[in-house]
Amino acid sequence: MFVKLCRLAAIAALALPLGAQAAAPLAAIQAMLAKPAVLCGRFDQTKTLAGMKKPLLSQGRFCVVNGKGVLWRTLKPFPNTLRLTRDEIVHFQGERVAMRLDAKQEPTVRMINSVLFSLLSGDLGKLDTLFEVDGSVDNGSWKVALKAREPALAKAIGAISLDGAAYVRNIHLNEASGDRTDIVFSDIKTGEGAISAEEAALL
């Protein structure tokens, strides 16, 4: 009985199947990444959705704070904040809490958060447990394609590709449903001064 329930959960929330060994290029990519304690910057997101003519553009700021979590603030066209910490995921729609998932209720919260943290900070070693990682290094920059090892998960999130140098520059999410998300990072700052007081208060 548990087993079947869990399969359900595997899709409802992300699951982590058994990992394999990191491939050789990954070590090189890992070496290129800066991995600062605090990383903030601007993002520009383009969503191309099935059944829609125009792509949807949005932009905002993000912060990845080692040991604390991830803050993802969409500023335009609508203020919308996602906060991921060790024990919970909170989604603010403006000021209102639209969704709150805590680890007690949903044990995979911690795993989801660590995956997102790894994704944004480019920590490929951790992602490797969840995805088949296919990477290449070219002239000071790198490129990586991720494919979920768990079929159910692959179906839910599709293919992910990342590229960058010292920091992640682009993320592309290609869903099986045909929806597509492209995120470009820019204006990246690191160190204690990178995070604004307002953001620090939110996280």
Partner: protein, 783 residues
Amino acid sequence: LKLHRRFALLWALVVCLLIGHNAYLWGSGRVVPDTDILALLPVQERDPVLQQSFSRMVDAAQQRVVVLVGAPDWDSAGRAADAYQAVLAKQPGLLALTVLGKDTERDWLAPFQHNALGLMSSAQEAQLATEPPQFWADTALSRLYSAFSGPKLGAFRDDPFGLFSGWVQERAQETPVRPRDGHLFVASKDMQYVLLPLVLKPPAFALSTQQAVMPLLDSANAAARAAAPKVEIISAGVVLHAAAAGTQAEGEVSTIGIGSLIGIVLLMWLTFHSFKPIGLILLSIGVGFLGALSVCLLLFGRIHLLTLVFGASLIGVAQDYGIYFLCNRLGADRAIDSVRLLRRLMPGLLLTLVAAVIGYMGLALTPFPGLRHMAVFSALGLIFAWLTVLAWFPLMVGAGSLHSGAFGARYAASIVGWPRLGWNKASLISLTIVALLVAAGWSRLGVNDDIRSLQTPPPHLVADQIKLSRLLDAPTPVQYFLVRGSDGEQVLQREEALKHRLDPLVTAHKLTGYQAISNWVPSAKADAARRALVNDKLLTDTGPLQLVAKQIGEDAAWIAATRDHLQRNGASMTPEQFLAAPAGEPWRHLWLGRHGDTHASIVALRGLDRAGLEQLRHAGDGIEGVQWVDKISEISSVLGRYRMVMGWVVAGAYLLVFGLLLPRYGRNAWRALAPTALASLITVAAFGLAGQPLQLFHVLALMLLLGVGVDYGIFMQESRGKDGATPWLAIGLSAANTILSFGLLGLSRTPALQAFGLTMLAGTALVWLIVPCFAQTKEQIDG
């Protein structure tokens, strides 16, 4: 004498047959006692739907063994769990791990997605009714723009308002268990556990299963500990309880058996200074035991371990006949030969047998199959032992072959100065005191019929069970709602009405949630209502879709296309379709389906809070077809009813025995019965004074006490007018042995057996002490 020789020879033939049959039974391994504690429970003829729901819930639970292997870090937990599993894998026929299939369930959500329009969480359903269009537009927009807004299933246009996601999330929260790295994972605040759901292949209650499984689990535990020293292993399962109970009962069988034997041997040797009487008595008991076993196995085909426990106790009673004969032989004139002596003792012997069999047969009137077997076993044992005494003792114990020892003589002499009851001050005063004490005790007497008091599982099993149910938040198999209706749709509608009443209790933390088929397959009525709600509130031309379209620069065509896309969803599944699909597999036990004219289902409850039980049981009041089922209190109430009934049976048995004694003893018949009756009254009063609540097993013991105690009264009456030394010796020997054997039951850690034992201990001792008080001395009769 010749006739008796022939009888003895015939009996020898019967005994040879018994020995042969027993040799065959033991040799072919047919004597494997049951240890199923449930076999002790009444088979009730009642509501078949309710019965089916019981067996569904129990079946789902009975063969399961659930093990949690935990460590502070996930890697150690995984390592320990692998080591644990490796040990189990060595014996694949015993415990099978329910494995995580990778591909089989890949598309299990698909059938739901195809009719997702009516699927939403209950919170969202409430919001649909109350929230304004802007709320839903905001929800859709935030889903549109955010990159990581939680789980997404399919494209945006499949679920623009997150209703289906909400539903899936709600379903996921029916269990805290998640797959992780090929294991099942559950976590507490500071421990990470691997869940190993195991299924026991052979039946949990077979002794052989328990003997094989327990060492296997022990070595698996050791292997896990070796792999990760900080590991915590929590295991639970019916088989663990059964094994614990079995070990305990087995241990008690040998203590009671050996203790009883040592007692008998010691006392007999002290009395007769010879081993011959001991040999003879053991012979009669042995024949009784073999005979009972043979016939019982022929009759029932199996035997319960507790029947054997009582079989061991039987030793204490079947000896009465041998002892009575031997003591009389000891005290009788050498001129009388043994066959003639026997003929003289016959009426008394016959009376004691019949009275004891009546006592045992009282057990057969109970609803417990185990106790019925015990009654038959015990009665048969008595009859076989009795016939052995009759057939062989007179031939084997000749006149003058016995000599009394100093111990026996000194004891027997104590009868002379024993206080007697009569019309005098001392008697009246002591009777008044006894009456007052009895009244005081009875007035304080409480009752306790809780089924849980039948068994005391070891504390570590209970602790594990509690931890496990907290971590897994699994539903209880003994308390749930049974929902009935004339068809599946009506059942689903009634489930929904019930769930509506349960939701506030979930909010109030009286329970953490419920499992029901309607969680997965809404009734057609609810489905239609939700679809109407969605169409009405979300999909109109002027509703939230339009607000969204305006924001993202889409036109009326997009609104129409999105609406059409959503409305293309097919009809919802029927419960039968759902149960046949892979997704329905874990829930099949909840749907009882058709039963004659009714359809029925179970609504199971998770994380029940005891404090909320009273409120919960009334949650379904007033909804037609909804019934609260609480197996624990159900059984407890059966126990209580039978305690009452048994009380009347005991009273009736006294009347029956009195009727039996009346023709022989006339107006002195009451003297044979009064000591037992008085001893019973005092014993029960003592429990009242000691604050021990009365339960069924006390009353059963009183029944047995009647069988034993009336023997002593009969012995005394049979030698009316004589000095009474001979019956007094027989009573002393027999009572001491009865106390030894049943007194040891009082040492049992099983509360039910303990209650039984203590009653027998106190009761027998009291009968022994007061039986001479009721016998008339020569002077009293003459005067």
